[in-house]
Symmetry: C2
């Protein structure tokens, strides 16, 4: 795969750098200037060599028409906003506000359709330990109605928590995946804010 000459690697690296910084591919003359070539043809030849080796793709005649193959092959990436840990009284409006950061991940590995409204919450406490969720885990949820057995972020009697949703003859209620926590049967109402579709854990110094 890496049968590139030193110069070609340098040019490729410069291309990646440009696209990360400016979102834009450089023109042949910009490449020329960056490497101190006396001729623009030198840059053009390197681009042609990289294209021949399949590392980049170009479109004849068009300006700055350089795309890095590895980034095109990549699956679509979704940006998921992270709202703090689960807070009481979190409504639709509140979701828009308390943005804490972003997670970007490719759509395929988390198995979600583009267009789905997503958000993420950080797990607090150990009430879902039985479902292998622990303090600090980042749960990605989709805003849609939940089915029995789903892990959901739900608003129950004015407070929002992450629990497993159970629907049976007794109606809908929430079950903590930890024997030390009680089942939650709604007094007034239960509204599902989102259904867990994926999870990301970051291991710091110690897991």
């Amino acid at each position: 795969m890496n049968n590139l000459t030193r110069r070609q690697s340098q040019v490729l690296e410069y291309l990646e750098q440009c696209q990360e910084r400016t979102g834009l591919a450089p023109s042949t003359r910009e490449i020329q200037e960056h490497f101190g070539f006396a001729s623009q043809t030198a840059a053009l030849n390197h681009l042609r060599a990289l294209e021949r080796k399949g590392v980049i793709r170009r479109q004849a005649g068009k300006a700055r028409a350089v795309a890095i193959a590895s980034q095109l092959r990549r699956e679509q990436i979704v940006d998921v906003p992270v709202y703090g840990s689960i807070a009481a009284g979190m409504g639709e409006a509140a979701l828009e506000q308390e943005e804490e950061g972003m997670v970007s991940i490719d759509a395929v590995t988390v198995g979600l359709s583009r267009g789905a409204r997503l958000f993420a919450l950080r797990v607090r406490g150990d009430s879902m330990e039985g479902a292998h969720l622990t303090e600090g885990d980042l749960v990605i949820l989709e805003q849609r109605p939940g089915r029995s057995g789903d892990i959901v972020a739900a608003l129950i009697d004015g407070e929002t928590t992450l629990k497993r949703l159970v629907v049976d003859r007794a109606g809908a209620w929430l079950k903590a995946e930890n024997p030390r926590y009680p089942q939650l049967h709604p007094m007034e109402g239960l509204s599902v804010q989102g259904v867990m579709v994926a999870m990301v854990r970051r291991c710091g110094v110690a897991a």
Copy 2:
């Protein structure tokens, strides 16, 4: 944020579409043709409007110099190759071959430095349940020597497994985070293939 007119949204959508398909921003004349404008100025004005509203960034005079702001703000994204589940006798060479797919995730949320050599493995079995890892979880590992307490993929007596690394007076050994599994004390040697730095779980129909 979304104080865009209908046309402006359409143009923005077209820009995103172009960059996803070709990795390239369209020229004003391509925008003109796509929307059936009779004048190229119409496209240019829409770009100017989008820039004024902060949705895109442009560079005066340069061809196709359109970058979508939300994608520039995004953190660097790393591509991690996924090798199947943990197989026996997996060496450096084997790593290069049995590629199964790719995970793309932003570098910040998994907390890893760019340049680190990364790979991912799918967890098989329940020997690490105590560390909240379960069947099907995708563990992201960095190729570097492990420290005591790290969860590592290690080659021990010719077989590779995912376990917690413990280094004490008795030397280095592996500990399963599940009381039903034995501790692994190496007979011949123990070589750490990678240290767990993050984990991604995908929830299918049922979690």
